[in-house]
């Protein structure tokens, strides 16, 4: 398995024309922006403009912009869209494409590494264990998790993001 970089193929994978059609009814009212927590603190992030570009077929413009990763996936836009466009879900799909074409932010690489190593996103250190003992909590044990997770990552091709990172 290899990271697919052909944009058209990637769009096809997530639903092709239908995917794009979902946003073609967007009438650019700006509801998504008004409620967006990220747009509130960062003027440049604008989900409406992402939908606009998508409906015009300018997907490469979106995924070549790092702003895409700023979406915090709170679903406010999805809940309030008067046309019921699942904005946040569409942005996730675009992120998936962007990940394959341009790679993922460093924070997520670390998270992925941790998951590949331990199956969890936060490590179990001896300090943790000590603290849990003080609070009378049972010991944290994991069985057969790492092996399973590695298999899943390999099957879905996500481990390639890691290998790429290691090569760096």
């Amino acid at each position: 398995m290899e990271i697919e970089k052909d944009l058209e193929k990637l769009i096809e994978e997530i639903g092709g024309e239908d995917f794009q059609k979902k946003v073609q009814v967007c009438y650019q009212c700006g509801t998504c922006v008004g409620g967006c927590p990220v747009a509130w603190v960062n003027e440049n992030f604008n989900p409406r403009k992402i939908m606009l570009a998508l409906s015009r077929g300018e997907i490469d413009e979106i995924i070549n912009n790092d702003l895409l990763w700023f979406c915090c996936y709170c679903h406010t836009c999805l809940e309030r869209c008067p046309q019921k466009i699942p904005v946040s879900e569409i942005i996730v799909k675009l992120k998936n494409i962007a990940a394959k074409v341009r790679g993922i932010p460093e924070g997520y690489v670390n998270e992925l590494k941790m998951i590949a190593k331990t199956g969890r996103i936060s490590s179990i250190s001896s300090a943790t264990e000590r603290r849990r003992e003080q609070l009378n909590l049972p010991k944290l044990v994991q069985t057969s998790v790492e092996k399973d997770i590695k298999r899943i990552l390999k099957q879905t091709g996500t481990n390639l993001f890691l290998e790429k990172e290691i090569k760096k």
Partner: protein, 308 residues
């Protein structure tokens, strides 16, 4: 809202001997063990049995992992659901993130048989097969629907009269509403009613359903803290004594990062942050010293003094 009421009555009928499979998640057991203590004590006192397994992996994270690859996210989620399916019990989560991942995975795979097939193909080498329709519940859902606020009011020993509280639901408890189907996404009531059941007051404030900003911690610290500040400002002006959360991410954002926000924006909030089961334990009469309050970054003494 009518729908919620209906289920409330229904589930009250069948709550006898309810037994759940505890899904601890990643963040709570390793970084915020005091949340786990409180949840366990509360469930114990309220006579909700829990089973545990060591087989669960990360749920996984609905923000990071889903953004990297939705298929990986679904498959890992389905693996966890498989384990619940093997044990034959409904899942009880302590975290909004786990709640969304597992509930949405269960929903998506039950709706879309093609997707289920695709995921099962990935799970094949693991000798697992997911059938669909696993029920996933958040601890707030269990407290609100299974036990009910009346029952909680009847059971508490030390009512928290006079305590003013800001209820912070967190996004993924209620959104996307057609999947979560638990409470209203714009005007939720469950946590407020749960707080009132303890004798405390839940005060209204601006932008109650605004994201806490924690999902951006790994991407852009600056934005994340700005969002946290907006929330803290709104909470502070509403005049509360403390914040109550239902999610370890919100908890981290407001407890651990409160000091960071204070320093960066040169402001003072001094708002203790509680996980709801912690307050519940206090009201149920659990000794505060057993709950690990020293692990809170923002000191909680002022609140403990107030409710004494």
């Amino acid at each position: 809202m009518k729908r919620t009421r209906a289920t409330k009555e229904e589930s009250n009928l069948e709550k006898e001997n309810k037994d759940y499979l505890l899904f601890k998640g990643c963040l709570i057991p390793s970084s915020l063990p005091y949340m786990e203590v409180a949840a366990r004590r509360a469930l114990e006192i309220l006579e909700i049995k829990i089973t545990e397994t060591d087989n669960f992996s990360c749920c996984p994270d609905p923000i990071g992992i889903k953004a990297i690859s939705e298929l990986t996210w679904l498959s890992m989620g389905a693996r966890n659901l498989c384990i619940a399916q093997e044990i034959g019990k409904d899942i009880l989560t302590l975290c909004n993130g786990c709640y969304e991942t597992l509930k949405e995975t269960s929903h998506a795979l039950s709706e879309d048989s093609e997707l289920l097939e695709k995921v099962n193909k990935i799970l094949l080498p693991l000798n697992r097969k997911y059938e669909g329709n696993t029920i996933v519940k958040h601890i707030a859902e269990v407290l609100y629907l299974d036990i009910g606020t009346n029952q909680i009011t009847n059971m508490i020993k030390k009512p928290l009269y006079g305590l003013k509280v800001a209820a912070f639901y967190g996004c993924h408890l209620v959104r996307p509403s057609d999947v979560m189907n638990f409470d209203d996404p714009e005007e939720p009531k469950s946590l407020d009613e749960l707080i009132v059941a303890l004798g405390a007051d839940s005060l209204p404030r601006m932008r109650k359903m605004f994201c806490c900003g924690a999902p951006l911690l790994g991407v852009n610290m600056d934005l994340s803290l700005n969002i946290a500040k907006e929330n803290l400002d709104n909470i502070k002006t509403s005049g509360v004594d403390c914040i109550v959360t239902l999610c370890p991410f919100c908890q981290t954002q407001f407890d651990r990062n409160q000091k960071v926000v204070e320093r960066r924006f040169n402001k003072e909030y001094n708002l203790p942050v509680f996980y709801y089961p912690e307050l519940l334990c206090l009201a149920l009469g659990v000794d505060p010293y057993q709950l690990g309050f020293d692990l809170h970054i923002v000191k909680v003494d002022q609140v403990l003094n107030k409710i004494k």
